[in-house]
């Protein structure tokens, strides 16, 4: 095995032996045999080459990078060149302190990224002119679909009763946006009316409308008349807006929009051949409870200090299940943070200067092209124009020779500029079109460009007035601001994050290095495919490896998250049934132990959900499953199942379960959240699944980014491959592919590099070894804690899979909640395991293969110490409320205060075990008051006075 395997896996041979001794297993292979049912074990090792060293990988990747051709791209359509400030690149994007953090559910140790995300919301609220914004969605096109469904949900009861079910979409929207709307409208029975906003007849079936601002071709329309007509027709309005243009244009919030969304990509986030980027989404205050996605809110901590947290979580799918407003969970936190930092660094003045420069260059270019006799379609534009009646073949030939990409439309050539477009670039474009016209090339001067007036009335409302956007404009100040926030957050740079079902494994530096290489980072997703040969090789290589790992025939990399993968997988199953004349198959069976996203995704597909019971051991109740499968034999679409189960067990009956479903004409969707317990030992095809998603951000080493990006590609068996998602602009997917599920053809292509690098360096044997180590580590924790915490479910031989559920329910009677344990762990420097999922009042612990025995021991010592503190509450030795658990976590401010009236020592509060002194992590705030925050919702940066 490659040297990298020993860098990735946490323990050496000696430690492995010690752990095996502890759990009383004769060998690692014997443990696996006791844990994974023989019936589902792979008969052959993974047919993947042995791993490369880190150095070999980088050489290999340089070879791939060289196959991507970097032309100047003026394609636009939602993707633009941008300058990522180096201070943000180095201190955020390339900094594991930011990218290895988890979603900020444990708010006390996440105040840094919560502040950065609150800045994002404030920025979006300002720029859109709306009341409230969320902390990002997956991409602009899915945000459009979220807007359409949110407005659908906001229809009055009368409108619902009257069957108001049509949604108008301006044909000037981005084509990939329109495509996504088609995908998402169909299962919900929403009728799309795609047309010209100027001429459309607004009938009484229309509930809402979507406009693009500026349009795909670049026009900045005055929508006032349309909005007035639509409002008179009792419609709601969604607007897709370009974030940089909003710096100068009158924002949609000031002309009647109910929802404004778009992509924040061009605020310093590389195009990356399609993603990941953060979409923004803002709405009116009255509709905040219907807004999809994560929202950061301001609350107070136990000491009365301001503290941030995720607000209104009850809207989310993990609580609302099939009634959730959306299935979105993973957002694009890291990218939203980068975009917010871009705004913090530039401030209002800086952004205005950038936007003005881009616009003036566009204006100068348009004027010069008109001077050459070209016809510009746009009267009013921001940064994009279209030349009408050009000879596209001729332009294309000249552009190819000059290594320039334009957008070629049926009626002309589109040119979209961005902040990277220089004066020299403008003159190169002009030279090209002059040559085509057979005229001498004009040369624009900097003065000519700067003299261009704005081609529209500049917005009058102020933006980014909050001090945070006006204080950090030097690199020194910016570097320190980023570091100050980073220091408030616990990430994998501090300690193990044992979140069950989340697989917080190592995100190796060598896997991340190529992300900022220009050949990968700066490629527009719609460049001609011959310019992306390196990406094609990378994607095909990853496809082949993941097919080998899953046992499937083909992958689609389009879904940008696990939830998006679920949605895509279910649509593929629906398309398959339809193709066989069985469109009536629409019942989905979902075990009661399933993650809430499963029913939420099924509901979005318009499926009928039937819940299957679990037995006392946490396994699917096979009798109940059989009865329901047979009851719905004629209408059964599929089963959604997680394997190993969400209870951390390899269910022995899985093959029976999948056989029952197939016998009743159904398909099996496997939720790949727990794939880290399968790789190399078993696979989805072997257990009988037909389709699964893989959370590349769990099993395949993409970092969690503090709440995204994710990547949720789906793999399918051969009979489903024809239905894999297509794309309107790039040929991908199956011959009868479903409509696109993401804006970009390959989803977040850039981060596929990470998983590719991980698999290349681990090799088949290393990947299998990692799975075994993950199982060993989990069983070691289970054994180490067994006298202190009961594990709720185990397999037939008393072993858990790669994670286990620790039962904390009994202590509730004594007043000790699972949240108390979670918060107390912070005092020891640990992030809590998953709390209350899938069983309320329990902890689900997943150590992953990357943690060392020493780290596991420290975690167990902390857990055991906390168990002792719980015992003191139970026996009445300490007060039920005034104790070290209830007051956890303890801030430095509190522990260092002159006054100390607690019935325990400061030392017990802050240094409960000797080794805590070596690496003390201080929570930035005391326990956050969730109730206060949800009752007094504030989702923008509060005035500074409130911090006083």
């Amino acid at each position: 095995m490659s040297e990298f395997v020993s860098r990735h896996n946490g323990s050496n041979a000696q430690d492995v032996q010690a752990m095996l001794n502890k759990i009383d297993a004769p060998s690692l292979d014997a443990l696996i045999a006791q844990t994974v049912p023989a019936a589902i074990r792979l008969q052959q090792p993974l047919h993947l080459a042995d791993g490369m060293s880190e150095h070999e990988l980088l050489t290999h990747l340089r070879g791939i990078a060289a196959k991507n051709q970097l032309y100047k791209s003026y394609i636009g359509l939602g993707y633009y060149g941008t300058v990522l400030p180096a201070v943000i690149q180095r201190n955020v994007l390339e900094n594991p302190g930011w990218y290895t953090a988890y979603t900020p559910y444990q708010a006390e140790i996440a105040q840094g990224r919560l502040e950065a995300l609150l800045n994002f919301q404030t920025m979006v609220t300002d720029l859109t002119g709306m009341d409230i914004a969320n902390a990002s969605l997956l991409d602009e096109a899915t945000a459009a679909a979220e807007a359409m469904t949110m407005l659908h949900g906001l229809r009055s009861r009368d409108d619902v009763a009257a069957g108001k079910n049509s949604f108008f979409v301006s044909h000037e929207c981005f084509p990939q946006t329109i495509e996504l709307l088609k995908t998402r409208a169909r299962p919900l029975g929403i009728e799309l009316v795609i047309g010209d906003f100027k001429t459309v007849t607004l009938n009484d079936q229309l509930y809402g409308a979507l406009l693009q601002y500026p349009t795909a071709d670049g026009s900045v329309h005055d929508y006032a008349d349309f909005v007035a007509r639509a409002k008179a027709n009792n419609m709601t309005i969604a607007v897709a807006a370009d974030i940089l243009s909003l710096v100068l244009l009158t924002p949609p919030g000031e002309w009647g929009a109910d929802v404004v969304f778009g992509s924040a990509q061009r605020f310093g986030v590389p195009m990356g051949y399609g993603g990941p980027h953060a979409a923004f989404f803002a709405c009116r205050d009255a509709h905040k409870r219907s807004m999809p996605g994560r929202i950061i809110g301001v609350s107070l901590d136990a000491d009365g200090n301001p503290a941030l947290r995720m607000a209104l979580q009850t809207r989310e799918q993990h609580i609302r299940r099939e009634k959730a407003t959306s299935n979105i969970c993973t957002a694009q936190a890291l990218l939203a943070i980068m975009a917010s930092m871009y705004a913090v660094y530039h401030g209002a003045q800086g952004l205005r200067a950038i936007a003005r420069r881009v616009h003036q260059r566009t204006a100068a270019l348009a004027a010069a092209l008109q001077g050459l006799g070209y016809s510009v379609a746009q009267g009013v534009f921001f940064d994009t124009i279209k030349l009408l009646h050009t000879d596209n073949v001729k332009v294309h030939a000249l552009a190819a020779a000059a290594r320039i990409n334009f957008r070629y439309a049926a009626d002309g050539v589109g040119i979209a500029l961005d902040e990277t477009t220089s004066l020299a670039d403008l003159n190169a474009i002009l030279a090209l079109f002059a040559a085509k016209a057979g005229k001498p090339a004009p040369r624009l001067s900097a003065e000519q460009v700067a003299a261009q007036p704005l081609r529209f009335r500049e917005r009058q409302s102020a933006i980014l007035t909050h001090p945070v956007f006006n204080a950090y404009h030097t690199e020194t100040e910016m570097m320190r601001y980023i570091k100050r926030l980073e220091n408030k957050d616990l990430s994998l740079t501090h300690s193990m994050i044992s979140l069950g079902s989340c697989t917080m494994k190592l995100n190796a530096a060598s896997e991340m290095l190529a992300l900022t290489w220009p050949e990968f980072a700066d490629l527009h997703p719609l460049v001609p495919q011959e310019q992306a040969a390196g990406y094609a090789e990378l994607i095909e290589g990853l496809n082949a490896a993941l097919c080998e790992i899953t046992g499937f025939a083909q992958m689609s990399f389009q879904p940008n998250s696990g939830a998006s993968g679920e949605y895509a997988g279910l649509l593929v199953i629906q398309a398959y049934h339809r193709s066989r004349g069985e469109a009536q198959r629409n019942v989905v069976l979902i075990p009661s132990s399933a993650h809430g996203t499963n029913p939420a995704s099924a509901a979005m597909c318009g499926m009928d959900i039937v819940v299957v019971k679990c037995d006392a051991r946490g396994n699917i109740d096979v009798d109940d499953l059989r009865a329901k499968a047979e009851q719905y034999r004629d209408t059964l679409s599929c089963l959604m199942v997680t394997y190993p189960s969400t209870h951390g067990v390899y269910e022995e009956s899985i093959k029976d379960i999948t056989a029952i479903i197939h016998a009743c004409g159904g398909q099996v969707y496997m939720d790949g959240a727990n794939m880290n317990a399968q790789v190399g030992l078993t696979n989805p095809a072997t257990i009988g699944a037909d389709v699964c998603h893989l959370n590349l951000h769990k099993t395949f080493a993409i970092p969690h980014g503090g709440g995204g990006p994710g990547a949720g590609p789906i793999g399918v068996a051969a009979h489903l491959a024809p239905f894999l998602p297509a794309h309107p602009l790039v040929k991908v997917g199956g011959a009868q592919g479903i409509h696109a599920v993401s804006a970009a053809p390959y989803g977040s292509a850039l981060i596929l590099l990470i998983s590719y690098a991980y698999i290349k360096m681990m090799g088949g044997r290393g990947l299998t070894e990692a799975t075994k180590m993950a199982i060993l580590n989990a069983n070691y924790i289970k054994e180490s804690l067994k006298d202190h915490y009961a594990t709720l479910y185990s397999g037939a031989n008393g072993r858990c899979a790669h994670e286990m559920i620790l039962d904390c329910r009994e202590w509730k009677k004594a007043g000790v909640e699972v949240a108390d344990i979670a918060k107390r762990l912070m005092d020891f420097g640990f992030h809590a395991p998953t709390t209350s999922f899938p069983v309320v009042d329990t902890l689900m612990v997943e150590p992953t293969e990357s943690e060392s025995k020493a780290e596991l021991d420290r975690f167990c010592e902390a857990m055991i110490a906390i168990r002792g503190e719980i015992e003191q509450v139970i026996t009445g030795q300490v007060d039920k409320q005034d104790n070290v658990l209830k007051h956890a976590p303890h801030t430095a401010q509190r522990v260092c205060a002159n006054a100390w009236s607690r019935p325990y020592t400061r030392e017990q509060a802050a240094y409960p075990l000797p080794w805590v002194r070596d690496n003390k992590f201080w929570p930035a705030v005391a326990r956050v008051d969730n109730v206060y925050g949800d009752k007094h919702l504030v989702c923008t940066c509060p005035p500074v006075a409130s911090y006083a």
């Binding site: 009861r157 409870r289 979580q313 009850t314 009634k323 969730n930 109730v931 949800d934 009752k935």
Partner: protein
């Protein structure tokens, strides 16, 4: 806190009080508020809405859960408790005082189909197992 004996109850944990004018008042039970925890938001049905028994008509939200409130019997909404908008915590402190909406039953005999306090308690106990 025991469940008042002058009220009727549903399996979905609403309490129902028959007023002297023939209208009924609806809220959620002590047991329900205990399960949900600290309330942060209440969405009451609009006045004038006609509902079937068992129809989802209101939402109560705590920090950890959101639950639908169902129409206990068929009828028309005649009033909604506006005070809960600013003070949803009243449901926690006084569940049998903090009513959510009032309705005019289509048929007051429908009340007979609901549980009395003892039957409801038995229902709660059975759900605990």
């Amino acid at each position: 806190m025991s469940n008042p004996t002058d009220l009727k109850y549903t399996a979905s944990h609403e309490w129902v009080k028959l007023e002297t004018d023939g209208s009924v008042t609806v809220g959620i039970t002590q047991h329900a508020q205990e399960l949900l925890g600290d309330m942060v938001f209440v969405e009451a049905p609009e006045v004038g809405r006609k509902m079937q028994a068992g129809e989802e008509c209101a939402v109560v939200e705590s920090v950890k859960a959101a639950a639908d409130v169902y129409a206990p019997i068929a009828g028309e909404v005649t009033a909604a408790n506006g005070q809960l908008g600013d003070a949803p915590e009243q449901i926690n402190s006084d569940p049998y005082g903090a009513w959510i909406f009032k309705m005019k039953p289509d048929n007051s005999a429908d009340l007979g189909k609901l549980m009395d306090a003892a039957a409801y308690q038995a229902h709660v106990d059975s759900e605990a197992h």
